[in-house]
Structures are given as structure tokens and as C-alpha cells.
Subunit: 128 residues, 2 copies
DNA sequence: CCTAAACTTAACTCAATGGTTAAGTATCAA
DNA sequence: TTGATACTTAACCATTGAGTTAAGTTTAGG
């Protein structure tokens, strides 16, 4: 039964909002194709829970599943992320501005570096 | 009362998963600072509903609110989106590959253009 | 054929979302 | 000081989300 799915930003962002699902995707980024149980193994939740996550990812169009025999292999489909990035890109100029400020700050001669409110402009960045 | 908030991807993506909230952010992208009721006006929901959306955006660190007199002005803070984009960028190669294929296809001499499985590579794109 | 492996489905819990109405608190303007 | 404006809070409701356990289905292997 193939469910109709509109590849909306809603579903994409909602799918990405869960750390377990992001971890699943991260796994699929590096391996091309994994079975459901292999995919589930590292997680501290039950298989049905993972199944539901896979349903969400699938509804968002972020993965495809293919059954061969009794095993189902999952594969990443990053396409919907492009739309999400497109949406975000619109706001890029805001941190671009901040980065430019940062850059300008450190390109200034050392003696001129005066933190506006006690600290230099800071670049935030983090990995998941 | 300043609530502690970890600027996690969870919150960011969750905040972006709602179309009303994305619309609020889109509004704040172009105007720099708007009062709560001005912000709420175009939407077909009640003020308290908008308030809750603003709480979510605020908890995600995507907006800041400042009260002056009886009006509260909201301001965009796009910083958390940078982390989100950083996460997504990791997957960029997947659609980059698709685009490269598309490009290669159309740069090939016309007579050589033979769709692999009945159709040329397709570029999906959509606006919100 | 029988059993184990690899899912799948069903039924249930609990908390969080997104919305409502109604009532409350400041603040500004006359 | 009185009333309207601009929020804010509280209480409630329905739906969804993330998880569970328990009971199916297929399929593969001995």
C-alpha cells in the first residue's frame, strides 16, 4: 500500500526534529543500504519504536524501503532536505553578517580590538 | 524569568516544522522588529495561539522579545538556524550529485542523450 | 516440517502540541 | 480615573508523537 505523501517542509522539519531519526539518517549517510534490524541495533529502544521512526522518515520522503525476502533494506533519500536547506538559506545573510563582523574584528590591528560588551563576537558551531 | 535553553537541533527543527511559525519568521526576516499583535494580525488564529508559537520560537532561540511599555517587540535571531544548516550540509553531496548528473546530461551532445530508465534526471524544487 | 529470524500490527500509555474561551494585568490616552 | 489597548495566564480539549508489550506474519535453514 503506497501512501500518498506531499513532500512538505512540515514533514521534513518534523522528521528532523528527533535525535533518533537524525541518528538513523546519519547512519544511512555512510552505508548506502541497511536492514531494519541492523539499523535498530545500536538504539536503546524496541524495534517497533524504530519502525515508527522509519515510517516518519519514509512519509517525509527521507528514506526508501525495499523488501527482499524477509529483510527490508533502507536507503537514504536526501532530496527533501534540499527544500529545507533552500528555506534556511534565505536567512543565511544573518549569520553571514555575524561572521563578517567576526572576520573584520580579527583583521583589525590588535590594539584596536575592543570587545563591545566584554567579549569579542563569537562564532557558534556544534556537531551532532 | 530567563529560562535556560540549550540551543539544540531538536528545538530548532521542531520550531521550523510548523507553517505558522515559519511564516512568523519569514515576516521577521524582512522587518527587523514587530509587535506581538502586529505579528498576529495576518493569521486566522487567536492571539494566545500566536503567543504559544512565539514561546516555541523563543525557546528555540529563534526570536527575542523586548517589552517597552505595554507592547512587546519581536526580533529574529537566525543563529540557531546555522547549526541546522550545518547539519543539513552534510547531506548536500547527495543532491549535488543529482544536479551534476543533470548538468552532465544536458551538456552531452543531443544525439547522445539517452535516458537511463525512460526519463532524464529530474531536478525537484519547490517554494513555500 | 519446524523453528528461528526479521519484520509487522495492534492495543495501550503518557506527554506534548496546537488550538480554544475566559479572565486577568499593565499601560497609555483622554 | 476610566476605558481601551496590548498582552498574559489559566483551564480546558482533541490530536499526535514516542514509547511500550504482546501477538501476528513471512521467509530461511536444518
Amino acid at each position: 500500500m503506497v501512501k500518498y505523501q506531499e513532500p512538505s517542509l512540515d514533514r521534513t522539519f518534523a522528521a528532523l526534529a528527533d535525535p533518533t531519526r537524525r541518528a538513523l539518517l546519519a547512519r544511512l549517510e555512510v552505508v548506502d543500504s541497511v536492514s531494519v534490524s541492523d539499523l535498530a541495533r545500536p538504539f536503546p529502544v524496541t524495534l517497533p519504536a524504530i519502525m515508527k521512526h522509519l515510517d516518519v522518515l519514509s512519509d517525509a520522503g527521507l528514506i526508501t524501503r525495499e523488501k527482499t525476502g524477509r529483510t527490508v533494506s533502507c536507503r537514504l533519500n536526501a532530496a527533501p532536505m534540499e527544500e529545507a536547506m533552500g528555506w534556511l538559506r534565505r536567512y543565511e545573510r544573518f549569520w553571514r553578517e555575524r561572521l563578517d563582523a567576526l572576520e573584520a574584528y580579527f583583521n583589525r590591528p590588535r590594539k584596536d580590538r575592543e570587545p563591545d560588551r566584554g567579549a569579542p563576537p563569537r562564532k557558534t558551531s556544534d556537531k551532532t
